[in-house]
């Protein structure tokens, strides 16, 4: 199913990729079922129809609007209008913090990014909010002279049916800059990662240069979640320049996407944009497995070299990099011997981190993946990152899919009993593990584990993390969770809620 840029809305991941958010079993079973159902990985025995699990209990999760709005807000020279009641705009505060931190890491001037909430009230729910929206857009334009304005929808405006696209089009004509709608109502998808598709859909439709003058043979698009540029040191020896997008880059970088020699994604969760660029502009998407672990990194570099025509140089780069990191890698493996880790992250990124840990000699027998995408937009089996992980490093016996459900993670961690946990989306997971006495290595910048240096980065980080057991164990010993004793003892994340005898309850 091709990406459709004619529609204002991106199709959800569930529809496009068969994404599920609830499952528990072995990684090999999940990979086999994914192939059996969706047919996009290496066929493996024992596959059956992928059956999403369910639990009647659920805990507050994230929404797609958050992802879409955050990543639109941090684009330079933009203003985002959150067309919503005030509550959705609570994220402004952490987006600003994120933008400032990004700026520090990238050496940019630290400035508050601009997002504006149309601040809908009860009257607007009754009479519609498009007038407020139009006023907000005009005000934003006056105040900040942006070069693009994004308009993000919310659950409320989705339900009351405000004509956001009509308003956007009218204001686009009036103001003479792109006004890009982001259809990201939280209730429309079970998973927040749709937010990536929404913003990437908007970029593909409105911000990419639709008629690039020429292809730049030395330019490599790198689509990442944000953070330090670990890519330039890696591909510069091949004579490639990096066009790093997402994570707060400029409109120029987004426009250039269509004229690059190739596109790599730092994580297949982001592959919507890469696939769209190949489909619409013929920019080839690198299909090699992600560069987690030595062999995968070698292969990834070779694939980049192949697609961009630099095979002559790549072997020297690989050899040099391997030699450079070898001594410290050996030390890290020595120090990490006998440790058991646990990974909690989103899909392909989780698979990558497991590969890293195993390359470092850390045992991983349990994982918490926030969602599972049985295939990628390219439908290329080489992008079956879970299958690749299993083939190259072995099975993960306990592989839980769950969107940061705290109670399920508790069971999964109790089952795994690791020496430490590596986690992204740390809101619920990190504090949970901490409270269980487990040292936490939070990953905020998801480039940390990439390629050769990523192994050192992660290895050092684990060594920094382990002694903090002393803090976590003390907190665990002196605090409790508001779960029932039966659930506290549970090690199956998808166990049915335990029946309780409530003596105090009257019979009626």
């Amino acid at each position: 199913m091709a990406i459709n840029l004619r529609t204002v809305e991106a199709e959800t991941r569930e529809q496009r990729l068969g994404t599920i958010t609830q499952w528990d079993g072995s990684a090999s079973q999940l990979a086999a079922d994914s192939v059996a159902t969706h047919g996009c990985g290496h066929a493996r025995p024992g596959g059956r129809r992928l059956c999403e699990t369910a639990s009647p209990f659920s805990q507050a999760s994230m929404c797609a609007e958050h992802i879409a709005v955050t990543n639109a807000t941090i684009i330079r020279d933009s203003v985002v209008i959150q067309h919503s009641p005030i509550g959705c705009a609570a994220s402004q505060s952490f987006t600003a913090r994120y933008a400032r931190d990004l700026a520090e890491r990238r050496g940019w001037k630290p400035e508050d990014p601009h997002s504006v909430c149309s601040n809908l009230g009860e009257q607007d729910m009754v009479f519609g909010g498009v007038d407020r929206l139009a006023a907000a857009i005009r005000e934003a334009f006056e105040r900040h002279a942006p070069r693009v304005i994004f308009v993000a929808t919310s659950c409320a405006t989705g339900i009351i049916g405000d004509d956001v696209d009509g308003t956007a089009r009218a204001l686009e004509d009036e103001l003479g800059i792109p006004v890009v709608t982001l259809h990201c109502e939280g209730f429309k998808s079970k998973h927040w990662s749709n937010g990536w598709d929404v913003i990437e859909h908007g970029i593909l439709r409105k911000l990419v240069d639709r008629a690039p003058a020429k292809t730049d043979p030395d330019l490599l698009n790198v689509i990442h979640l944000g953070g330090p540029d670990v890519f330039t040191p890696l591909v510069a020896p091949l004579g490639l320049r990096v066009n790093l997008v997402m994570g707060g880059n400029t409109l120029e970088r987004l426009a250039e996407l269509s004229s690059a020699a190739a596109t790599v994604t730092m994580c297949f969760v982001l592959s919507y944009l890469a696939t769209g660029l190949e489909q619409e502009y013929g920019v080839p998407e690198i299909r090699a497995p992600l560069p987690y672990g030595l062999d995968a990194t070698d292969a990834w570099l070779r694939d980049i070299a192949r697609v961009t025509g630099r095979e002559d140089r790549v072997e020297a780069v690989i050899a040099a990099e391997r030699a450079r990191i070898a001594p410290e890698l050996a030390t890290l493996r020595e120090k990490l011997k006998g440790k058991k880790g646990f990974v909690a992250a989103g899909a392909a990124f989780a698979h990558g981190l497991i590969a890293d840990l195993r390359e470092l000699g850390v045992e991983v027998d349990g994982t918490f993946s926030f969602h599972h995408d049985p295939m990628t937009d390219s439908r290329d089996p080489r992008q079956d990152s879970l299958g690749h992980l299993i083939d190259t490093t072995g099975d993960v016996p306990n592989f839980t899919v769950s969107p940061d459900q705290h109670f399920q993670a508790h069971a999964a961690l109790k089952r795994a009993n690791p020496d430490f946990i590596v986690t992204r989306h740390t809101g619920a997971m990190a504090s949970l593990a901490a409270r269980m006495g487990i040292p936490v290595l939070p990953i905020f910048y998801s480039n940390d584990g990439l390629a050769y240096d990523g192994l050192l980065t992660i290895g050092r980080a684990i060594l920094r993390t382990l002694p903090k057991k002393r803090f976590y164990a003390d907190v665990a010993a002196h605090s409790s969770f508001p779960y029932s004793p039966a659930w506290l003892a549970e090690t199956n994340p998808y166990a049915a809620p335990p029946e309780r005898v409530r003596a105090e309850e009257p019979a009626c």
């Binding site: 507050a60 729910m125 409320a156």
Partner: protein, 460 residues
Amino acid sequence: MLRPAKAATRTSEAEFHAAPGAVEQVRYGCALGALLSVIAIPNAVPITHCGPGCAQKQFHALSGISGYQGGEFHVPSTNIGNREVIFGGADRLDELIDATLKVMEADLFVVQTGCIPGLVGDDVENVVARWRRRGAPLVFAETTGYRGNNFTGHEIIAKAIVDQFVGPSTAPKRARRVNVWSALPYQNPFWRGDLGELKRLLEGIGLEVAILFGPASDGVAEWKRIPEAAFNLVVSPWLGLGIARHLERSYDQPFLHLPRLPIGARATRAFLAQVAAFAGIEARVVEDFAAREEREHWLYLRDFSAFYSGCTSQYRLPSQVIVAGESAYALAVAGFMVEQLGLSPGAIVLTENPPESARDGIRAAFRNLAEGVDAEVVFAQDGPTVHRLIRDHDRHGEYPIVFGSTWEAGLAREIGAPLVEIGYPATDEVVLSRSHVGWRGALTLVEHVYTTVVRASTLG
């Protein structure tokens, strides 16, 4: 026997209106954000019936980006999806409540709704009522996002707990017992320590104190005993007044309203004296307690006067206090800086969009901060508007200091003022038990303010 007045699941005493115009640099949550007030009650857990991101956004913003307070976020939620929007979500909520009562353990669950149930018309009241009839410790508070902010939501929740959980009471009143209604939990990064110190101060004059929120509270059990208090004490310019009036109607409990959270010797003495007078406690009790507390207090300020008067006088010590924040802390901090440290009031912008009906009272509370010194306040929510009001206020010849939020970082730099973060969002402070209340808190605030001032020069 006393009974609660009319059911109050939905409306705040003070009517809320979304501020006109768009809002940039948002400084408060929506009504659902009052789930943090539930989390602030030990052994209470909110159950949210709302979209998938709603509860988490409110929590992450108000607990994380407000001094990194952290806290208990294990919140059951229906994470409303397409199906519930189209077919209604009451059944899903019913299922969630059932599962919650099995998986979780708490003394009280507060079911809160977000925007979607209000728009699609779920009959949540009925769902919750069924569980309550079966004896589950459940109450329902309608905290629809487009109908209020976390301030009004806080009052809605308190009243819902009173009406649906505390309920009618035959318990006799205890002459020295008081319920305290003050800081909005989490919105104010210092609420935990401040409530603890407020409790200690009131206990210091012989009161038995139900502080109701935070580590110093006994939690749900304390709420159950609300009717036993001889009176309610509202320490805030307006928040909590609605609750106190409701309790007056419900339990015939009188209330004392003291707008200013006391910081420093003068304010604390005045505060305790007024409480004592209301509670029928002898003035001597306050005097004795104050004398004990003040011995060290003044020794510290005596020694601090060396720095303050300029023994290391290269520092540009501030002369004008500028505030951008919610009215309660703005009043407390501006009051202290003006009354005790002798600063002049500059621009004071109150940002929580208080109800229109409360605004005159708020304005009045800012008069006579020190003898004969009035501060004029303005109300604004939108960041650039707040900053324009500050920028345009006269500060000729003054060394300003800004008390505000992280949003004021750029503005403070622009006008050459140090910034002290006192409200949400606050990203430059890690707050645990720090308090600014009373005598001790005043010393902490002085340390913090002048460390900030010094660093503005030494780390420049």
